[in-house]
C-alpha cells in the first residue's frame, strides 16, 4: 500500500462508518416506533417524534464516544483494559440518557412498572421510579457497550487485514531486495587482472588483445544486465562463462585447462543468472589459482527426470589456505536458489576428496 492510496481508503471507511451509523440507529428507532405504535398503542405521532429525537441524540452521543475513544487511543489497548473502559463509558453516557428517557413519554417502552407491582406490591412509588430509572440507564449503557464492542471489533478486523497485507508486501519486498543483493556481481579482482592482461597483450599479441576486449565487454554487459533478469537458460549462462574462462586462460595461460560436456536438452533449462558464473569463479579462485601448475576445470550437465544436474569439478591444494572454505558466494548462491525454487533446487560443495572440489547444482526444469 502506498501513501497516495491512504486518504482514499480513509474516506472509504468514513463513508462506511456513517452508513452503518445511520442505518443502525435508524433501524433501531424504526423498530421502537413500530413497537410503540402497535404493542403499546401509544399516540403514534408524538412517540415517533420523541423516539426519533432519542435516535438522533443516541447517534450523536455514539459519534462523540467514538471520537473520544479515538483521541485516547483505545484501539491500541489490551482486551481487558478496553472492556473496562467500554463498561464505564456505557454507564457514563447511559446515566443522563436514562434519566431523560425516564422523564419522557416513551419510557413506557421499557416500563417494568406492571411486573414490579406483580412481584412486590408493597413497593413505594418513589422506589418504583428509582428502579425504573436504573433500568433505563442500564438499557442505554448496554446499548452503548454493544455499540462500542461492534465498533472496536470492526476496527480490529480492519487493522488485522491491513497489517497482514503490509506483512505480505513487506515479505515480498524483502525477498526481492534479498535476491538483488545475493546476485553476485563480477569480482573487481577479476576485472583489474583482465585489464592488466589486455594491456600486456596489446604489445605481445594485438589480435588476442582485441578478442580479450570483446570478451571482457560481453562479460561486463552480462553482469550489468543480470540485474534485470532472474533466470536465464544454461546455454546463455554458459556463453558468458566461456568468455570469462577465455579471459582467465589468457591470464593463467597453460595453468588453466577447460573441459565442457553439456547436451542440448540440458542447455535449455533455466537457472538463476550469474550462478554458474559464481561457481566457476570459485573453482578458479580456490582451485586453479592456488595451484602452481594449475589443472583442469570440468563443467558437465545432464537432464534426468526433469531435473538439471550440473557439476563443476576442479583440482585444489591439499592444504587449503586459511581464507578458503565455504565462502559468501556459495552461501548467497544457495539462498538465491531457495528463494527462486524453494526446496526443490540444491547446491552442494563436495570436498570429500582431498585434492578435488566438486560443486553440484540441481535445478528442476521449469514448464
Amino acid at each position: 500500500m502506498n501513501d497516495a492510496s491512504l486518504p482514499a481508503q480513509h474516506t472509504k471507511s468514513q463513508q462506511l462508518y456513517w452508513i452503518l451509523q445511520v442505518a443502525g440507529w435508524g433501524f433501531y428507532t424504526l423498530l421502537r416506533i413500530f413497537g410503540a405504535a402497535t404493542i403499546l398503542e401509544l399516540p403514534w405521532g408524538k412517540s415517533a417524534l420523541e423516539l426519533s429525537l432519542f435516535g438522533g441524540v443516541g447517534l450523536a452521543v455514539s459519534h462523540w464516544l467514538r471520537n473520544f475513544a479515538k483521541r485516547h487511543g483505545w484501539a491500541a489497548l489490551s482486551i481487558p483494559k478496553l472492556a473496562a473502559r467500554i463498561a464505564v463509558a456505557g454507564f457514563i453516557v447511559g446515566i443522563p440518557l436514562g434519566i431523560m428517557t425516564q422523564l419522557s413519554d416513551v419510557s413506557a417502552l421499557q416500563d417494568p412498572g406492571p411486573e414490579l407491582k406483580a412481584y412486590a406490591p408493597g413497593l413505594s412509588a418513589g422506589m418504583t421510579v428509582t428502579i425504573q430509572t436504573l433500568l433505563q440507564i442500564t438499557n442505554w449503557a448496554v446499548l452503548y457497550m454493544i455499540w462500542l464492542a461492534i465498533y472496536f471489533a470492526a476496527v480490529g478486523l480492519r487493522e488485522h487485514r491491513t497489517v497482514r497485507l503490509k506483512q505480505s508486501e513487506l515479505t515480498r519486498a524483502l525477498q526481492f531486495a534479498e535476491l538483488r543483493l545475493l546476485k553476485s556481481q563480477l569480482n573487481p579482482h577479476f576485472l583489474f587482472n583482465a585489464l592488466n592482461t589486455v594491456r600486456s597483450l596489446i604489445a605481445d599479441n594485438p589480435s588476442l588483445a582485441q578478442s580479450a576486449v570483446t570478451r571482457l565487454a560481453n562479460t561486463l554487459r552480462y553482469s550489468l544486465s543480470s540485474r534485470q533478469d532472474e533466470l536465464v537458460t544454461l546455454a546463455q549462462e554458459l556463453g558468458i562463462v566461456t568468455d570469462y574462462l577465455e579471459l582467465e586462460s589468457m591470464r593463467f595461460e597453460d595453468r588453466l585447462r577447460v573441459e565442457r560436456i553439456v547436451p542440448a536438452d540440458a542447455a535449455s533449462v533455466y537457472i538463476p543468472v550469474m550462478l554458474l558464473q559464481t561457481l566457476v569463479e570459485n573453482a578458479i579462485k580456490h582451485g586453479i589459482a592456488e595451484l602452481p601448475s594449475g589443472g583442469v576445470l570440468r563443467i558437465s550437465a545432464v537432464l534426468e527426470n526433469e531435473m538439471l544436474n550440473v557439476e563443476i569439478e576442479n583440482p585444489r591444494p591439499a592444504a587449503p589456505s586459511p581464507a578458503a572454505g565455504e565462502g559468501v558466494g556459495l552461501r548467497n548462491a544457495r539462498d538465491r536458489l531457495r528463494l527462486l525454487f524453494g526446496a526443490r533446487a540444491t547446491l552442494d560443495l563436495d570436498l570429500s576428496k582431498p585434492t578435488v572440489a566438486t560443486a553440484r547444482l540441481r535445478v528442476p526444469r521449469r514448464r
Partner: protein
C-alpha cells in the same frame, strides 16, 4: 639495482618487464610464479628489489616476506588488494595497482633508489629493517626504531613505539644480524638499543640497570656489565 618479478600470471610478468625496460638502472635477474620459487631465488640471487604480487598459489606475497631471512626493498603489485597493502604502517614500501601506470612506477622506483642509496652507506650484512606479521597486521619495522628485543620462547617481542609485535624467530639467530654498534645483549633474554638508553644506575644488588626512554628498566647481567661499561665510555 637487481630486481626479481614475482607474479603467478605470465602476462603480468611480461607487462612489468616491458615497463621496466626503459629504466636502465633496474636489471631484472629473475622471475618467479609462486612463493616457493621466489624464496629460493631470493636466497640464491640476493636481489635488491622485489616486485611482489599479493595473491599467488601456495601462499601470498606476505607469506614470502615472513619466510625471508633478508628482506630486500619491496614494491607490491596488485589488482585489487590495495587495502591489504595500506594496512602497512610504514612508508618504507610502495605498492602499484595493476594495470600499472608508468608514472606511478617511476615514482615508486625513485623512492626505492633513494632508500637504496641510504642503505649503501651502511656496512653490509647488517639488518636494517624487519618484516613482521602479527595476527592480521603487517609491518616493515626499521630496526633503529626498536628499543628492546625480548625473548619469549621461540619468539621475539619487539618494543617499537607503542606496538609490541611478536616475531617468529629465536633471539640468538637474529642477534648475529643486528648492528653491533647499536644493539647490545643486556642479559640472557633481552637485547637493548643503545640509542634508547636514558640513564644507567647501579642497583642495590650491585648490578647495572639501564632505563630505556619510554620503556622499562633492563638489568645488565654481571657477565655483560664489563663489556657494557666499555661500550658506554667510548
Amino acid at each position: 639495482m637487481k630486481a626479481i618479478i614475482i607474479d603467478d600470471e605470465p602476462p603480468a610478468r611480461r607487462e612489468l618487464r616491458r615497463l621496466l625496460a626503459d629504466v636502465a638502472w633496474v636489471e631484472i635477474i629473475g622471475e618467479a610464479g609462486n612463493i616457493e620459487q621466489a624464496a629460493d631465488m631470493v636466497e640464491s640471487l640476493a636481489p635488491d628489489l622485489l616486485f611482489l604480487d599479493i595473491q599467488m598459489p601456495g601462499g601470498s606475497g606476505f607469506d614470502l616476506l615472513t619466510r625471508l631471512e633478508h628482506v630486500p626493498a619491496v614494491i607490491f603489485t596488485t589488482a585489487h588488494d590495495e587495502h591489504a597493502v595500506r594496512a602497512f604502517e610504514v612508508d618504507a614500501l610502495d605498492y602499484l595497482l595493476k594495470p600499472i601506470d608508468p608514472a606511478r612506477l617511476a615514482e615508486a622506483l625513485t623512492r626505492v633508489k633513494s632508500a637504496h642509496a641510504e642503505r649503501a652507506r651502511q656496512p653490509d650484512d647488517v639488518l636494517e629493517q624487519i618484516f613482521v606479521r602479527d595476527g592480521g597486521r603487517c609491518w616493515f619495522i626499521p630496526l633503529r626504531e626498536v628499543s628492546l628485543l625480548s625473548s619469549e620462547g621461540n619468539y621475539i617481542r619487539l618494543s617499537w613505539g607503542k606496538s609490541q609485535p611478536l616475531l617468529g624467530r629465536a633471539l640468538a639467530a637474529l642477534e648475529r644480524r643486528l648492528d653491533p654498534n647499536r644493539f647490545f645483549r643486556a642479559n640472557r633474554r633481552q637485547i637493548i638499543n643503545l640509542d634508547f638508553i636514558d640513564n644507567v644506575e647501579l642497583g642495590v644488588n650491585g648490578r647495572l640497570h639501564a632505563q630505556l626512554r619510554d620503556g622499562p628498566e633492563v638489568e645488565i647481567s654481571r657477565r655483560q656489565a664489563r663489556l657494557f661499561k666499555g661500550k658506554m665510555s667510548i
